[in-house]
C-alpha cells in the first residue's frame, strides 16, 4: 500500500472516533436545544414533551447517533434546532465572510511575520523589540484587543466602523474595506506574534547551516544569503505552520467574529453553542476536524514527497 493510501486509511477511523467523542460530549453538556424554552413560564411540560418528540430528542442517544451518522455521510446534515432551516444552508451562507476575514488576515500576518522574523534573525535590536511585541501579541486576549481597538478607532477617533461586515446603507468597496480593518488587525496580530517567532527561529537555524557558510565563503552578500538561501530554507516549515493555523481559523475566528459581529462561521458556532443547536454544532465540529485531518494529511504527504529522508521506513 502506498504511503498516501495508508495515511488515508488511518484518517477514516480517526474521524469516526472524533465524531463519536464530539457527539457524546455535546450531548453530555448540561442543557439542550429546549432549555431556553423553559425560561418562558407559559411553556408547559406538555409543550416540552411535544417539542422533544418533534425534534427526535426523546430517542435513545445511540439511536440518535447512528441516524445522525447515516444521514451525515450521505450529505444530509439535518435541520437546525434553532431556526428549522437546513444545516448546510446555514453553514454555506456564512462561508464567504469567514474566508474573507481569514484570507486577508492570514495574508497580512504572513507579510508581517516575514518582515519581522527576518529582521529579528539579523538584528539584535529588532529581535528584542520583536520578542517583546510577540509576547504581548500572544498574551493579550483577542476579545480585549478587539474591544480596545473599537473604543479607540471607532468611539474616540471615529475613523472606522466598530463592527459588522458592511454598513447597511451600502457604500460599496470602501465601506467593506473599512469594516475589515479592525477584525483583520486583531486576527493578524494574534497570528503574526507566533509566526514571526517561528520564522525567526527557522531563519537563524538556516543561517547556522554549513551551506550558508559556504555561500559566505563564495563571497555572496549577506542580504542575498538571507533572502535567497536562509529564507527559502525556512519558508517550507513556516508555510506548513501557516497552512495548519489558517485551516483552524477557516473554521471560524470564533472570538474575533463574535466581538466584531462578523457574520461568519465562527459567530454561527458561538450562537449554536449557546442554544445547544446539536445539528449545527456537529456539522461545524466535523468540518473543522476534516479540515485539520486533511491538511495534516496533505502536509505529511507533501513532506514525504519532497524529503527523501522521510521515506526511510519500508
Amino acid at each position: 500500500m502506498s504511503f498516501a493510501a495508508r495515511r488515508l486509511a488511518q484518517a477514516v477511523p480517526l474521524l469516526l472516533i472524533i465524531s463519536l467523542l464530539v457527539f457524546g460530549l455535546i450531548h453530555a453538556a448540561p442543557g439542550g436545544p429546549l432549555s431556553l424554552y423553559l425560561d418562558n413560564p407559559n411553556v408547559r411540560p406538555e409543550d416540552i414533551a411535544r417539542l422533544r418528540r418533534a425534534m427526535g430528542l426523546d430517542r435513545p442517544l445511540g439511536t440518535q447517533y447512528v441516524s445522525w451518522l447515516a444521514a451525515f455521510v450521505r450529505g444530509d446534515w439535518g435541520y437546525s434546532y434553532a431556526d428549522g432551516r437546513p444545516v448546510t444552508e446555514r453553514m454555506i451562507e456564512r462561508v464567504p465572510a469567514t474566508l474573507q476575514l481569514v484570507g486577508v488576515s492570514t495574508l497580512l500576518a504572513v507579510i508581517v511575520s516575514v518582515v519581522v522574523g527576518v529582521g529579528a534573525a539579523l538584528r539584535r535590536g529588532v529581535d528584542r523589540a520583536a520578542s517583546v511585541g510577540s509576547v504581548a501579541g500572544l498574551s493579550i486576549p483577542v476579545f480585549w484587543l478587539g474591544l480596545v481597538l473599537q473604543l479607540l478607532f471607532s468611539n474616540t477617533l471615529g475613523w472606522l466602523p466598530s463592527s459588522g461586515r458592511a454598513s447597511f446603507a451600502g457604500g460599496g468597496l470602501a465601506d467593506r474595506l473599512a469594516h475589515l480593518v479592525l477584525p483583520v488587525a486583531v486576527l493578524a496580530v494574534a497570528h503574526a506574534a507566533g509566526w514571526s517567532r517561528y520564522l525567526r527561529g527557522s531563519v537563524r537555524l538556516a543561517l547556522a547551516q554549513p551551506f550558508t557558510n559556504a555561500a559566505r565563503a563564495r563571497g555572496v552578500t549577506e542580504s542575498r544569503i538571507v533572502l535567497r538561501h536562509a529564507l527559502r530554507h525556512a519558508l517550507l516549515p513556516f508555510a506548513t505552520v501557516v497552512l495548519l493555523d489558517a485551516s483552524i481559523m477557516a473554521s471560524g475566528a470564533v472570538v474575533t467574529e463574535s466581538v466584531f459581529a462578523w457574520p461568519g462561521i465562527g459567530s454561527l458556532f458561538t450562537e449554536a453553542l449557546a442554544k445547544r443547536d446539536y445539528t449545527v454544532l456537529m456539522a461545524f465540529l466535523m468540518c473543522a476536524s476534516v479540515a485539520v485531518v486533511t491538511l495534516s494529511f496533505l502536509a505529511d504527504v507533501a513532506v514525504h514527497a519532497l524529503d527523501p529522508r522521510t521515506r526511510g521506513e519500508p
Binding site: 413560564p41 409543550d47 495574508l107 461568519g264 519532497l306
Partner: protein, 557 residues
C-alpha cells in the same frame, strides 16, 4: 501557534514558493487606511424618519410569532395580534375592535362550566397581499395549533378551546371547555393567514417563517443572516396613510453587549432596547440618546428550594433571611438606584397589585432572634448549626450577568452577618434553566418575566412544581393553592383581583422566596424620537412602532 506535524526537519526544497509572497498586500492596507477617512460617517447620519437603526442583541430564530421562543420585537412590527399590552400593562385592541369582557357581553360563562369569548374583528384590515383579515384566520390559527403536527412554542390556552365558530367574517366565537381567566391575551401573537398556510407543514413553510405575511405597519424587506433584518413600511396600512411615520427600520444583530453599547455611543446604531443596568451610567452623558425607563413586569428574587435544602421549610428561617437583606443598600450601590424594591410577585403596574402586604425591613436583630428561636445556634466560626448540620447552602445564579454576580456576593455577605453561610456558584445561561427545572439546587437568584396577565398559580400552587409548573420553591400551602385556583376560574376582573390580592398577602406572610426589586426596563432611544413609551412586559417596546416619529428639533447631531 501550533507545532507542525512534520516528522523531520524539512530541507530547503521549497524553492517554488518564491514568487508567491510578492502579493501586494501592503497596498491593501494602505487602501484600507485611505478609505477609512471616507467611511468615517458611514451609517452615522443620525436618526431620521427615513431610517432608524436598532442594535439588537440576537438574531431571531424564526419570524413565526407562534414558533419563536425569544422576544418578538421584530415580528410584532410585521404580524399584529388581536390585542397587545401597552406601557401601563393595559390590554389594548389592535386587530380586534374591542377587548371582550363580561361587561360588554363578549364573554359568556356557560352553565356547563365552559365559556364563550366573542372576538369582533376590526373591519377593513387586509393582509399585506391584499386579502382581507377575517374570522376564518382566527379559526385556522386555533385549529393549526391544536392539530399539534408542528412546533408552536406553547399551546397554553389553545388546548382548552373546544371549537371556534365564525358566524360572519368579522366575528369569531371561541368556545372554551373550561373557564380561562387570561383569555384576553389568547391571540396576542396574532393569527396565521389561512389562505397561505392551509394544508401546509408550517414547520417547513420557510417562505412564511422567514418572511411572514402580516397586517402590521412594516414588512421584511431583507433578512441578511448573521447581519441584519431590514423592515420597510407597507403602503395602505390600515391605520391610515399617515402611519407609520418611519420609512425603514434596520435591526443589526450585535450579540456582544459591549459592542452594542459601543455602537450606540459611536452613532452606528440609534436604539438599543433593554440596556443592561450596569451600562446605563456611561450612556447618560450622550446628548443623542434618551433613556426611557418603565417599571418592569418582573422581579429579582431568591428562590428557596425547600425540597433540596430542608431548613428552608421552617418559616422562621425564611423570615430571618428576609430580615437579613439590606435591599436599600443593594439598590443604592450596585444598582445605582435604577430599580425600586418590591415585596411580592405581582408588580405595581398590574391591576391585581396589592400594596398592603407584610414587609420585612432590614433588621439583623430580628433575623438573629428568629434563627435563635428556630434552634440554629452560632458555632465558634460564627456559622449557625442545628443537630450538627450547619446553616450553609449554595446560591446559584447566571454567569456573565455582572449585576447579578455582585448582588449574589452582597447577599452572601449579608447572610453571613446573621450566621448563615451561602456560597455563590455561577452557572452559564443555557445550563441554569436545566438545573432549576430539575430542582437540583438550594437557592437561586433570578427573575421571572411575565406577560400582562397576573396569573401566579404556576409559581406558587403546591402541585405546580416542575414539570407541571414553575414552583421551584417546592413550597406548599393549601389555602394559598385554593385561592390561586379560584382566581384562575374567575373571569370578572374585579373579583379576580380580590382573590389575587388575598394570594399576595398570603405569599408575603409565608415568604416562599426572598423578593428584592422590580426589574426596571431601560431602553436607549434617539433623543428626538417621539411616542416611544417602552413596555414592562415581553410584548416589547415596539408594540406602538406605527406612531414613532423622529422630531424636527434635535434630529441632527
Amino acid at each position: 501557534m501550533r507545532i507542525p506535524r512534520l516528522r523531520r526537519f524539512a530541507p530547503p526544497l521549497g524553492m517554488t514558493i518564491r514568487s508567491r509572497f510578492r502579493v501586494p498586500g501592503s497596498r491593501v492596507i494602505l487602501l484600507a487606511i485611505a478609505v477609512a477617512g471616507c467611511a468615517k460617517d458611514a451609517g452615522r447620519a443620525g436618526a431620521s424618519n427615513a431610517l432608524l437603526i436598532v442594535g439588537y442583541d440576537r438574531e431571531p430564530d424564526t419570524m413565526n410569532r407562534y414558533a419563536t421562543h425569544i422576544l418578538e420585537d421584530i415580528q410584532s412590527c410585521v404580524v399584529e395580534g388581536l390585542v397587545t399590552s401597552d406601557e401601563k400593562m393595559n390590554v389594548v385592541p389592535v386587530l380586534a375592535a374591542e377587548v371582550p369582557t363580561i361587561q360588554n357581553g363578549g364573554v359568556v360563562l356557560r352553565p356547563d362550566g365552559g365559556m364563550d369569548v366573542t372576538w369582533k374583528l376590526r373591519p377593513g384590515v387586509k393582509w399585506h397581499d391584499g386579502k382581507p383579515h377575517t374570522s376564518a384566520d382566527v379559526k385556522f390559527t386555533v385549529d393549526a395549533i391544536n392539530k399539534g403536527d408542528w412546533k408552536p412554542e406553547s399551546t397554553d390556552g389553545f388546548d382548552r378551546i373546544a371549537s371556534v365558530d365564525t358566524p360572519d367574517s368579522l366575528t369569531a366565537v371561541v368556545h372554551y371547555k373550561e373557564v380561562y381567566a387570561p383569555y384576553a391575551m389568547q391571540f396576542f401573537r396574532g393569527t396565521l393567514p389561512r389562505h397561505l398556510l392551509q394544508g401546509r407543514d408550517i414547520d417547513k413553510a420557510n417562505d412564511y417563517n422567514r418572511n411572514p405575511l402580516g397586517t402590521g405597519p412594516y414588512r421584511i424587506a431583507e433578512w441578511k443572516t448573521g447581519e441584519y433584518v431590514l423592515l420597510e413600511k407597507v403602503k395602505d396600512y390600515w391605520r391610515g396613510p399617515e402611519y407609520p411615520k418611519i420609512d425603514r427600520i434596520l435591526f443589526r444583530f450585535l450579540p456582544n453587549t459591549t459592542t452594542r453599547i459601543n455602537q450606540l455611543k459611536s452613532g452606528e446604531v440609534q436604539l438599543v432596547a433593554l440596556v443592561p443596568w450596569d451600562k446605563v451610567r456611561e450612556l447618560r452623558a450622550l446628548p443623542s440618546v434618551r433613556l426611557n425607563q418603565v417599571l418592569g413586569n418582573g422581579y429579582e428574587h431568591v428562590t428557596l428550594n425547600e425540597k433540596h435544602f430542608p431548613p428552608f421549610k421552617d418559616l422562621r428561617v425564611r423570615q430571618a433571611l428576609a430580615h437579613a437583606i439590606d435591599r436599600e443598600l443593594l439598590v443604592r450601590t450596585i444598582l445605582d438606584s435604577l430599580v425600586t424594591t418590591v415585596d411580592g410577585p405581582i408588580q405595581p403596574l398590574s391591576w391585581a397589585y396589592e400594596p398592603n402586604v407584610k414587609r420585612y425591613a432590614f433588621d439583623t436583630a430580628a433575623s438573629n432572634r428568629l434563627l435563635d428561636e428556630a434552634g440554629w445556634k452560632r458555632g465558634p466560626d460564627g456559622i449557625r448549626a442545628k443537630d450538627g448540620q450547619p446553616l450553609a447552602f449554595t446560591l446559584i445564579t447566571q454567569a456573565g450577568f455582572a449585576i447579578r454576580e455582585n448582588v449574589a456576593q452582597a447577599l452572601q455577605r449579608q447572610f453571613r452577618d446573621v450566621g448563615v453561610n451561602a456560597s455563590v456558584k455561577l452557572i452559564d445561561g443555557t445550563t441554569i434553566s436545566t438545573v432549576w427545572f430539575s430542582g437540583d439546587f438550594d437557592a437561586m437568584l433570578h427573575w421571572w418575566q411575565s406577560g400582562a396577565d397576573p396569573e401566579i398559580t404556576l409559581f406558587f400552587a403546591s402541585d405546580r412544581s416542575p414539570p407541571a409548573g414553575r414552583n421551584i420553591n417546592y413550597f406548599a400551602d393549601d389555602s394559598l393553592t385554593r385561592v390561586l385556583y379560584a382566581s384562575d376560574r374567575t373571569v370578572d376582573q374585579a373579583e379576580r383581583a380580590e382573590l389575587l390580592r388575598a394570594a399576595q398577602r398570603r405569599v408575603a406572610e409565608l415568604v416562599p422566596e426572598l423578593v428584592l426589586y422590580n426589574t426596571a426596563k431601560i431602553d436607549a432611544v434617539p433623543a428626538s424620537l417621539r411616542n416611544f413609551n417602552g413596555n414592562p412586559t415581553n410584548a416589547g417596546p415596539f408594540w406602538n412602532v406605527y406612531e414613532w416619529e423622529i422630531g424636527q428639533a434635535g434630529s441632527s447631531r
